[in-house]
């Protein structure tokens, strides 16, 4: 292990360095990423809120920092940001709970 901890906020600034080892793919990724986040049918603010919610479900500390800042830049406020995280959390909780139907099905199969 190169450091005594896994996540360093300074590393976020080095994201572009992924191109050092595979430039064509990195170029494609960053170009596509930029297009995805640009204003379209959804506003930049709406996209930033979706990104913030997803950042929480994938539990990426870099993305959480980055999209907290981006949400403010794009005009979101704390209430909108917390609602977005609740949406992510509700889907995560719901996806755990809905799987209990499988548990119930199987339980019924193997019991008298």
């Amino acid at each position: 292990m190169s450091k005594k901890h896994y996540f360093d906020p300074e590393d976020l600034k080095k994201f572009g360095n992924i191109g050092d080892w595979q430039k064509p793919l990195a170029d494609k990724f960053f170009s596509w990423y930029g297009d995805v986040m640009a204003e379209g049918a959804l506003s930049e603010r709406e996209k930033a809120l979706i990104a913030l919610a997803v950042a929480h479900t994938v539990q990426c500390p870099y993305c959480i920092d980055a999209y907290t800042s981006t949400c403010f830049e794009k005009g979101a406020d704390e209430e909108q940001m917390m609602e977005a995280v609740h949406v992510a959390a509700a889907i995560k909780a719901g996806s755990s709970l809905v799987n209990s139907v499988q548990m119930m099905n199987h339980a019924k199969e193997i019991t008298m």
């Binding site: 204003e39 506003s43 930049e44 603010r45 403010f72 830049e73 794009k74 005009g75 704390e78």
Partner: protein, 357 residues
Amino acid sequence: MSIHQKIKSLAARHSALADTFFQLKVLNGKELTDARFPAFRESIKQAGFTDGTIRPTRIEIFQMNVGKLCNQTCAHCHVDAGPDRKAENMTRETFELCLDVLARCDIPTVDITGGAPEMNPNFRWFVEECRKLGKHIIDRCNLTIIVANKKYHDLPDFFAENKVEVVSSLPHYSALRTDAQRGDGVFEDSIKALQMLNAVGYAQDGTDLKLNLVYNPTGTFLPGHQASLEADFKRQLKRKFDIDFNHLYAITNMPISRFLDYLLEGGHYESYMQSLLDSFNPGAVAGVMCRNTISVSYEGDLYDCDFNQMLDLKVAGPKTHLRDFDFSALEQRDIVLNQHCYGCTAGAGSSCGGQVA
């Protein structure tokens, strides 16, 4: 609801930053300017201003800062305005000097700012005089002054009668964001004031009364796209409070005065300057407001913009006061530049009329 201020002015706190010399020392700190933040002059060369100077296009806006007195003490204020700044207010004599210049020079727009300019006892008389001269008048109104005291309740009618364009700060359509920057209770009073302005015809179909809002980021981040923010503000203010406005101006916070204090206190100064430099947009340089504006202080001194005024960087040349106002010489001047100018060239650029690129 009355306003509760979260902070005091730098002057009231006897902060070192109340001294413009100290602010310039921070902005020009040798360690940072040499290693990481090139001089603004060097950066504009790549924008086609190859001799490192910017000159005016034409003076179209006569912007007057009529005083530092204000009923609010906003956290980001570049003027260091507040209720304690009673001494710094434009006198009748200086207003008259302004009228002399406006009468003899073809400058179509008078842009009045402060402080809360309406608190200056000469404000209404001066607006009426400018109207007689046929000038387009802009008042930079903090909104809450309209409901702060009975004597200001009729300001919307006064603005309407004199066809004053009202430009008002509202950093967000949420109370939390707005009050964090401007003081507790400011949002509620601002909403009331906006409704009063709409009620007399501002931003309503069939009138030519213009009401524009100013968005300043409420933290260490830069503003997003103006058109996108404007669309959100329009939808939310209409939905929540039935408020209409014409345009939203997204303005970047300059790293001076109280915003500089906020950056230094929180340890954000270097990262904020870095974000301004990283976002430097050569395409924004040609549209900076100092090229079509002359800024006048409450004492009648002349500056390239309100920010230079607050750093006490007077216009270049021997004639730096209203008494010696020389229109053609001013149009030939070199604009005084410093490191804070990166604030006007970041991203889509920034000016008193919003983004420029």
